[in-house]
């Protein structure tokens, strides 16, 4: 198995590593960096539990090899909060509406929703369902997730902050 050097930024922190060619990005994040907030649900790109922001765009880290992330800037669920111990507006809204039960799909949902809110502060219900349409949740029936994202959008409108503040301020 060939080994490859990679350098990437995860949640604002630079990492260098030597990885086998076949290592997926999700396994790199979980097993090498011990960022276990990103979950594996299907490992074939359908469930969305492994979603991360890859250079700002939501992607499935089970369908990318770690070597393909060389040079990338990545945000995982652990990087959504503005500082350690705090919650982002979106995370707080997920708590407020109880937009989760078992919590397993939640990191991927948060990433998908954050990607949407980075694009717009005024998403329609259809926009929201489209944004999370590739993330499967077995507990909630999606209703309280949609409510959380709407609530976050309205709070962010009121806050008059630049849309990307919550994700670029990763700690580390």
């Amino acid at each position: 198995m060939s080994q490859h050097e990679i350098a990437l930024t995860v949640n604002g922190r630079a990492h260098r590593a030597t990885v086998p060619a076949r290592l997926t990005l999700v396994d790199f994040l979980r097993d090498h960096l011990r960022l276990t907030g990103t979950h594996t649900g299907c490992e074939h790109g359908v469930c969305g539990a492994c979603s991360i922001l890859f250079d700002g765009r939501p992607m499935r880290s089970c369908l990318i090899f770690a070597v393909q992330a060389d040079g990338a800037t990545i945000t995982t669920v652990e990087g959504l909060a503005p500082e350690p111990g705090a919650l982002s507006v979106l995370q707080d809204c997920f708590w407020e509406t109880h937009a989760l039960q078992c919590g397993f799909c939640t990191p991927g949902m948060l990433i998908a929703a954050q990607a949407l809110l980075n694009e717009t502060r005024t998403p329609s219900d259809d926009d929201i369902r489209e944004a999370i349409g590739g993330n499967l949740c077995r507990c909630t029936g999606y209703k309280q997730i949609v409510e959380a994202i709407k609530l976050a959008a309205s709070r962010l409108q009121g806050a008059n902050m630049p849309p990307k503040q919550e994700v670029t301020g990763g700690h580390g």
């Binding site: 990103t38 997920f94 708590w95 078992c102 919590g103 397993f104 349409g133 499967l136 209703k143 309280q144």
Partner: protein, 796 residues
């Protein structure tokens, strides 16, 4: 009965456990990695039925980093077979196939290596010599005398067959104005959590102790694991502080844990077995009910249902497990929410060469509810009666509770008519009818679905002795303990893992309510199986009732102790003082008061100030028997199954695309009455999720096998779970009929939505098909199935 007033219960409160999950700081089993941990990969049978002639692991073992390859004979020699729920001693099951592989995906060998990837590489190098045998895949064919038995030693594929007759069924059928008979088919689906099953096992030789972390939801898991591994119960420690990524019934994983525990002990290092998605769907032994209902219903000209004959044939797959018992629980609500004079029920459980069934949300009640509601619709159609009017005429009336059904269970309480009317009003049923008729006028296939269904709750063991008289289990107790430290901080200990039900919020809210202390200030911890008090885990919609009841019981004992300590300090009798917000004061002179912290300090430090005979410290525990439980079934099979009955009335609008067969749902309204909701957001969330799951079972989800027994649905591209696109914006209308049997009037709600949604959607689809003269009683009604039906109907 008015809804009682509470301080914390029934209020909007942020669930305690949510915070760690939104921070990405859950602690799931795949997140655990003890130093030196090895990984298990599995060799799976490609044949539905085959004799295993030999296994050659030389090439696999030669791969650097591979530590062991284990085959079925070795494992079977070192472990006890997994217990079945039935009295079927010749049906033996071990985690790895022994002599025979009985379904595609059955584990034949396990490979242990330094990484999962390496273990998978090595698994591909294991050579198994199979002798393929004729397989049986159709449950009706499996019953025939010449069918090849999946378990040759058992001699037949019939695992269980029994007919109960409760009341004068034949007389009621003979006296009825009319009867109808039909078949309803519920195909195989399951709960399919997004987290697959996983287990980490670590043997500590110095302590002679096996530590197990697993994503489980299973009664008596630790006991059964120890038994299978031939260890004393106190040599196995199952940790309940593992977050479980969804279960809804299926996360039993006993075979996974036996295999991992055996290997951890043999190799002396920690091992992890984490299913991948294919393993979960194929060899995880977690598929669900697969049922053929032959229904007969007898009724009067006025639309009064008199009697039912139900024959339920269930294909449990290749092993017995607990699946046959899923035919048992519905006996506790065998006639649904309706007044029915007599019922005949024949339950038949057969083996086929398919993946075994596991307990699925509702434990057989959702398929039964679908069959019952289809019967109601068939009667309405036969009489030309309005479907809602027919339901109104047959629903048990509010003033008739408690109401005993023919099969022996007494429904505790309910207000079915009011809930149905509230749901119809919220859906604006007249407007919905106008919308449907306008859509039909435009050539669309539009329909409205109605379903009235029960959720029996309070999870009891009554079906176990009913299906296996050698099993005399009459309690599925639940426990909770509460302690207050010397500074007044409260810790509540619960005795099970959770898979999203919010048990930490439940326990804290209940204890806070009784002790009048802010629930957010209460720490909830989880025991392990060695430190735990008895629990039967969150099954059968039981935890609001059972954990809630146990927590309330423990908190009430503590409150009595606190009151006694305060009274003693005040020099008064208990009758002369009052407990308020955790402090104790004189009724006659409320200024004379002992604060919460002072009482905690007395209890922990000042024995001389304790009332005589009081034990020091401040702690209490309570073990609760299931309300109404404790009795064996009578000779006629009559038994109280579960104590409490929640009710749901669904109203859903559907349009079917004529070309694709795709069903678009919404508006969707559900009236729901589960008594007092401890945390409304949690109850609503489970109900929304249950409806989404029901949409999957009704329209998309099916584990398919070809006629040879090959498994065709091992990925999320073949097994379709509803996404945010398929699940409409559901509206819940709450109603509260408190249960007279529980601490706060609560009932269960963990299966809410799922128990009625498939019936409601089937009803809507059939209403939409009615103008074409078509009907269908088969779930899931996939786009392909409906498209073909509509196309064939056109030709016909």
């Amino acid at each position: 009965m008015a809804e009682p007033a509470f301080r914390y219960i029934a209020k909007k409160r942020r669930p305690k456990e949510d915070r760690r999950f939104i921070a990405g700081a859950g602690r799931f089993v795949a997140d655990l990695a003890p130093p030196g941990m090895l990984h298990i990969a599995l060799v799976a049978s490609p044949y539905p039925f085959a004799r295993i002639r030999g296994i050659d692991a030389k090439a696999a073992l030669a791969l650097p980093g591979v530590r062991a390859v284990l085959a079925g004979a070795d494992l079977a020699a070192g472990t006890e077979a997994i217990m079945s729920g039935l009295d079927a001693p010749k049906i033996k099951r071990w985690p790895l196939a022994h002599h025979y592989a009985r379904y595609v995906g059955e584990w034949v060998a396990a490979v242990v290596a330094e990484s999962r990837a390496l273990a998978e590489d090595a698994a591909e190098l294991v050579e198994v010599d199979y002798e393929p045998l004729p397989a049986v895949t159709d449950p009706e064919a499996a019953m025939l005398a010449d069918a090849p038995p999946v378990h040759p030693d058992h001699g037949s594929n019939v695992l269980f067959r029994k007919k109960w007759v409760w009341g004068a069924v034949e007389e009621d059928f003979a006296a009825a104005d009319a009867t109808r008979a039909f078949r309803a088919r519920w195909h195989r689906s399951s709960t399919v959590p997004i987290e697959t099953f996983g287990v980490v096992a670590q043997w500590n030789d110095a302590q002679q102790l096996l530590d197990v972390w697993a994503s489980i939801q299973m009664p008596k898991f630790a006991d059964q694991l120890a038994r299978a591994l031939r260890l004393a119960g106190n040599a196995v420690r199952v940790h309940f502080d593992v977050d479980v990524g969804g279960s809804y019934g299926v996360k039993r994983g006993l075979k996974h844990a036996i295999l991992a525990g055996f290997l951890a002990r043999r190799l002396g290092v920690p091992v992890r077995l984490m299913e991948d998605r294919l393993e979960n769907m194929r060899g995880g032994d977690a598929q669900g009910p697969d049922r053929i209902f032959d229904m007969q219903v007898a009724f009067s000209r006025a639309g009064i249902i008199r009697s039912l004959k139900i024959r339920a044939l269930d294909d449990v797959g290749a092993h017995a497990g607990r699946a046959p018992l899923q035919l048992g629980k519905p006996i506790g609500a065998i006639c649904g929410p309706y007044r029915v004079n007599s019922v005949e029920y024949e339950a038949i459980s057969v083996t086929t060469n398919k993946t075994p069934q596991e307990a699925v949300r509702g434990f057989g009640q959702a398929p039964t509810n679908f069959a019952l509601e289809t019967a109601i619709d068939r009667v309405a159609a036969a009489l030309g009666m309005d479907r809602i009017a027919l339901r109104r005429a047959n629903l048990i009336r509010h003033e008739e509770f408690p109401y005993t059904i023919p099969s022996g269970s007494t429904y505790d309480s309910g207000d079915f008519h009011t809930v149905l009317e509230k749901a119809l009003a919220a859906a604006d049923h007249p407007a919905l009818l106008a919308r449907r008729d306008a859509a039909r006028g435009q050539g669309k296939l539009a329909g409205i679905g109605i379903a009235c269904c029960l959720e029996p709750s309070g999870g009891n063991s009554a079906f176990e002795p009913l299906f296996n008289p050698k099993n005399e289990t009459t309690t599925w107790m639940e426990a909770c303990s509460v302690k207050v430290d010397g500074a007044g901080a409260i810790v509540v200990s619960i005795n099970t893992s959770s898979s999203g039900q919010g048990h930490e919020s439940l326990a804290a809210t209940v204890v806070g309510e009784v002790l009048e202390r802010e629930p957010d200030s209460i720490r909830v911890v989880r025991a392990d199986s060695l430190s735990a008090l008895p629990s039967n885990s969150p099954v059968g919609s039981r935890m609001a009732i059972m954990l809630g009841g146990a927590a309330a019981g423990a908190a009430k004992k503590l409150k009595e102790t606190i009151t006694a300590i305060g009274a003693h300090k005040l020099g008064a009798s208990v009758g002369e003082v009052e407990y308020c917000d955790g402090a104790v004061s004189l009724r006659a002179d409320p200024a004379k008061m002992i604060a919460w912290e002072a009482i905690a300090e007395i209890a922990h430090r000042k024995f001389h100030e304790l009332p005589p005979g009081t034990e020091p410290g401040l702690q209490a525990s309570h073990v609760l028997e299931v309300p109404t439980g404790g009795a064996l079934p009578g000779a006629d099979g009559r038994v109280q199954m579960y104590p409490c009955y929640a009710f749901e009335a669904h109203v859903v609008y559907a349009e079917i695309d004529r070309l694709t067969g795709q069903v678009a749902l919404g508006p969707y309204v559900v009236g729901h009455d589960c008594g007092v909701m401890i945390n409304p957001d949690i109850v609503h969330g489970m109900t929304y999720g249950g409806i989404a799951h029901g949409i999957g079972a009704a329209l998309y989800e099916r584990f398919r096998y070809d006629e040879n027994g090959q498994f065709l649905s091992g990925t999320f591209m073949d097994y379709l779970i509803p996404s945010a696109h398929e699940v409409p914006d559901v509206a819940i209308v709450d109603h509260c009929t408190p249960s007279p049997l529980t601490a706060f009037g609560q009932k269960g709600s963990g299966e809410a939505g799922y128990l009625g949604a498939p019936a409601a959607i089937s009803c809507a689809v059939n209403d939409a098909l009615a103008p074409l003269g078509l009907s269908i009683a088969e779930l899931p009604m996939t786009p392909g199935l409906l498209g073909d039906l509509i196309a064939a109907g056109k030709k016909g």
